[in-house]
Subunit: 243 residues, 2 copies
Amino acid sequence: MNNVSPLKNIRVVLTQPSHPGNIGAAARAMKTMGLDALYLVNPRKFPHADADARASGALDVLQNARICTTLADAIGDCVLAVATSSRQRELRHEMMSARQAASAMIESAAAHPVALVFGNETSGLSSEEAGLCNLWAYVPANPEYASLNLAAAVQIFAYELRMAAVDAVHSPAPEFDAATNEQVEQVYRHFEETMIATGFLDPANPKRLLPRLRRMLARARLESDEVNILRGFLKTVRKPPTQ
Amino acid sequence: MNNVSPLKNIRVVLTQPSHPGNIGAAARAMKTMGLDALYLVNPRKFPHADADARASGALDVLQNARICTTLADAIGDCVLAVATSSRQRELRHEMMSARQAASAMIESAAAHPVALVFGNETSGLSSEEAGLCNLWAYVPANPEYASLNLAAAVQIFAYELRMAAVDAVHSPAPEFDAATNEQVEQVYRHFEETMIATGFLDPANPKRLLPRLRRMLARARLESDEVNILRGFLKTVRKPPTQ
């Protein structure tokens, strides 16, 4: 198991990490499990001596880290982005366990880039950030004290990814042509415009419709062909006759 | 799963830990997984402010930690002691994976005290210490960089113990308000009718469109509310003007 290739397609995204020590410890956790792509969305302090110290032998992961200004940038070319939480219901999505999510990620990562997304140490992921992701995963933790350190959560997910990668060597995944997050975003915009055009959505009073639509599309894990089908259909939808 | 009782019979033993920060982080890792018995064999610095800082909300685990002068003392009353390593062959014993070892520990811990033993950060367990244990377990790690932080190794083992304990009870699935197959079928029919009405779908020549639509809807695992949103939208789609 020197080369677990799906792991090379998996990036860890830390959004707005507050403590540089946690960034370093996360890099070390990643490397021990064979992950090397680290993306940082608006880190408060980076680079930083504390990050280097806690990275230990994983300085290369830190040095190659990419800095992004938005989560959308960090995951735009991915076919699957998994939002993480230590609380089972926090994100108001149907949640998978870390083990289940790792298995899904390894399957997708056989051929495409995949992201594992962690929120800020204190506030976690915002619902907007979580809404950009396709799956939501939690670490089954003690309900009386589920406060995992950020790097500890990265360690558990990275470990489950490695375990799933080892399992997957024995059972290759079926191929399918997954849509990128960018394509899915286009479907979302197209729905939004069409819903406004038909009068279904009142842009002055959208209520919870748009976040729900986004969540549903993210969960559906569309294929490229399906993006074409949906957009093709939406193009044929005309404005209603004015009444 | 508030009370996973075998976990209460499992103690974590850190032998000669050098860095008090690691002791604190290990305590936090334990508590997040429902372990609370920490034994320290000749810690170099303890108690210590760094331990408290890294323990975060697990100060109680630190405060209740027992200090021992030998490993034999720390595990004397246990029916099973598991020595850990991040290297598969280091201890010159037949090694189990963390997952296999967790399962064995949970079984024994149903009725008896059980110990999970970690070595010093730099030197690991001596062969004499390892020889006092009954089983030897490793974290399957990147062979090119298997250097897990002590608290990270504790986190993975503690997580596997919790997972094994939950498996032993049986895990309840997270709740969400899933649509019935009938509701999804209605969405499918509604899409089909609307696609015909807009001219997107030619019923005389449907090609692969309908099975693809069905597959996409099945994969999306819709919730009841989403069924209402989609059908509500489709209702607002009018026929195109005849050309």
